[in-house]
């Protein structure tokens, strides 16, 4: 940005709302919108990346601040970044879901003493089942998590859902809510001190 801050912007579901937000701060994002192959826009201090990479760049200080989902921050809780603001958009629920007939998770726990859970969020899933006193085998998958219970790989899944549509189309239903995730503004700890004024101005305007 013109005031010397570099901001990590997430491509994907949060991309458009994030660029709208930057427009509102007077940043000209037209090139970012029109060129989806270019990643670094040095003149306006914007770098674009996958949401899961945002904490990595901000922790290292390659970006001073960044925007990403709370789901990403929960899964990467070891990252040393400051969480400054709940931006409110991109709301999703982190849920436990299972096939919509019977009670496969309860059945597995009663008869086998443990439940098998597929997820892209192994830490969030493991902590949720540990916190609720149930033994779980976590199976990390990279692609569509909904497939895993349909093929018998697991009894249930932990995933992020906005509308529940994808779950329903795959005959899955939400059985537990874990947390609500929204977009968050994060900052590098050193930049938070050494560029305090710029970061505060930005935070105040975003809070606005």
């Amino acid at each position: 940005m013109s005031d010397g801050l570099t901001i990590a912007v997430p491509r994907g579901a949060l991309f458009d709302r994030t660029l709208d937000l930057l427009d509102g701060l007077g940043v000209d994002t037209s090139e970012v919108r029109s060129n989806d192959r270019k990643l670094l826009f040095a003149d306006i201090g914007v770098v674009t990346m996958r949401p899961t990479d945002v904490p990595t760049y901000v922790e290292h200080g390659s970006a001073d601040i960044g925007i990403t989902g709370k789901d990403v921050l929960m899964e990467q809780s070891e990252r040393k970044v400051y969480e400054l603001l709940d931006l409110g958009y991109g709301a999703c629920e982190m849920v436990v879901a299972a096939p919509d007939h019977g009670d496969p998770i309860g059945d597995a726990l009663r008869r086998l003493g443990r439940v098998r859970i597929a997820t892209k969020y192994p830490r969030v899933a493991a902590e949720h089942f540990a916190r609720t006193g149930r033994q779980a085998e976590i199976v990390e998958v990279k692609g569509s998590v909904e497939l895993a219970p349909l093929t018998g790989l697991v009894d249930g899944i932990v995933d992020l859902t906005a509308t529940g549509k994808t779950l329903a189309e795959n005959s899955l239903k939400v059985v537990e809510q874990i947390a609500t995730s929204t977009a968050r503004l994060i900052a590098n700890p050193v930049a938070h001190k050494l560029k305090a004024e710029q970061i505060d101005v930005m935070t105040e305007r975003l809070r606005g």
């Binding site: 969480e83 700890p189 050193v190 001190k193 050494l194 505060d200």
Partner: protein, 317 residues
């Protein structure tokens, strides 16, 4: 065939070693020149002796046994061994005492977190000078030591580790609510902290202060916005007298993890890198746990991180 070394440790080859050695030597000379004599203590100590310094650090130590079955531990910093040295070797010496070190310490790390398991620290301890006078001397000498090491833009962050806890108590917040709030503060999860503050249903003025405090950082002007910071104001005056006030950032949300700090806490930054170079603070009860009641404060930087900052500064120049 690979012959691995533990993650978080590393081999240092000649070219890097020469540069690390130069940084250590220059800082050592700056410390010695200010009357801080260098000390060396054993890497392995009796665990029960180290635990007298700080019980909470116990989980972070590497342990082994000696021939008699006594538990030995690798030191995880130099402050506790120096507190032991002061109470035993200098039991009758007239304070103040000044010591420096360029020494290795070891801490357990989470696998894959990228934290070093073994690190080289350059630091100073000032024993027997209470209050802001001692803190100002330690901060000014650290800044000078880093000048000597070749950094130009480094800054020291200064906060008060007890401030937030004191405020919570003064607002009548129940003891059991403190810990989760202090944890959110130490992570600087300001979203979570604000939720927790809102849940307390305090008067607006108190609520706003608890939410704003962790965001108050900058020059001495921020000290006008919070109660209970008279000590930091005096410290600012003394730093000004020493000509280093413009290198210091007051940060009212700053807390450090180590359990023995009792007052002001410090962190060291360089704008070229996104991580802290080191830290320290005042620890007025630590030496007393070894039998000699003396106020003290100290500061240490990680030499390898100073080297990274210096290289990054060169790349920017």
């Amino acid at each position: 065939m690979t012959h691995p070394i533990p993650p978080g440790s590393r081999d240092v080859l000649p070219e890097e070693m020469r540069e690390l050695r130069a940084i250590g030597d220059r800082m050592r000379a700056a410390f010695e020149g200010a009357g801080y004599g260098e000390v060396h203590t054993p890497a392995l100590e009796y665990e029960e002796v180290l635990l007298r310094g700080d019980e909470r650090a116990a989980g972070a130590r590497y342990r082994t046994f000696d021939e008699q079955g006594a538990v030995l531990a690798l030191r995880s910093d130099m402050t506790i061994p120096i507190a032991r040295v002061v109470a035993t070797r200098y039991a009758g010496a007239e304070p103040p005492l000044r010591f420096s070190y360029v020494a290795r310490a070891w801490r357990a790390t989470d696998r894959g977190a990228g934290e070093p398991r073994e690190f080289l620290q350059a630091g100073i301890e000032l024993i027997g000078v209470p209050g802001t006078e001692g803190e100002a001397e330690v901060i000014a000498l650290t800044i000078e030591g880093l000048n000597a090491a070749g950094l130009r833009r480094h800054r020291v962050g200064v906060g008060d580790g007890a401030l937030y806890r004191t405020l919570l108590a003064s607002f009548g917040v129940a003891e059991e609510a403190h810990l989760p709030m202090l944890e959110a503060l130490s992570r600087r999860d300001l979203v979570d902290l604000e939720h927790q503050v809102d849940a307390l249903a305090l008067a607006d003025r108190d609520r706003d202060l608890l939410v704003r405090l962790p965001q108050l950082r900058g020059g001495p002007e921020i000290l006008d916005e919070a109660p209970g910071v008279g000590g930091l104001r005096t410290l600012h005056d003394q730093l000004e007298a020493r000509g280093v006030a413009d290198r210091v950032i007051f940060d009212l949300g700053l807390v450090r993890e180590l359990g023995y700090y009792t007052g002001p806490v410090f962190e060291v930054y360089d704008p070229a890198v996104g991580f802290t170079l080191g830290g320290g603070g005042r620890y007025d009860n630590l030496i007393g746990r070894f039998g000699r009641d003396l106020p003290a404060c100290g500061l240490a930087v990680d030499v390898q991180r100073v080297h990274l900052a210096q290289a990054a500064e060169e790349a920017l120049a």
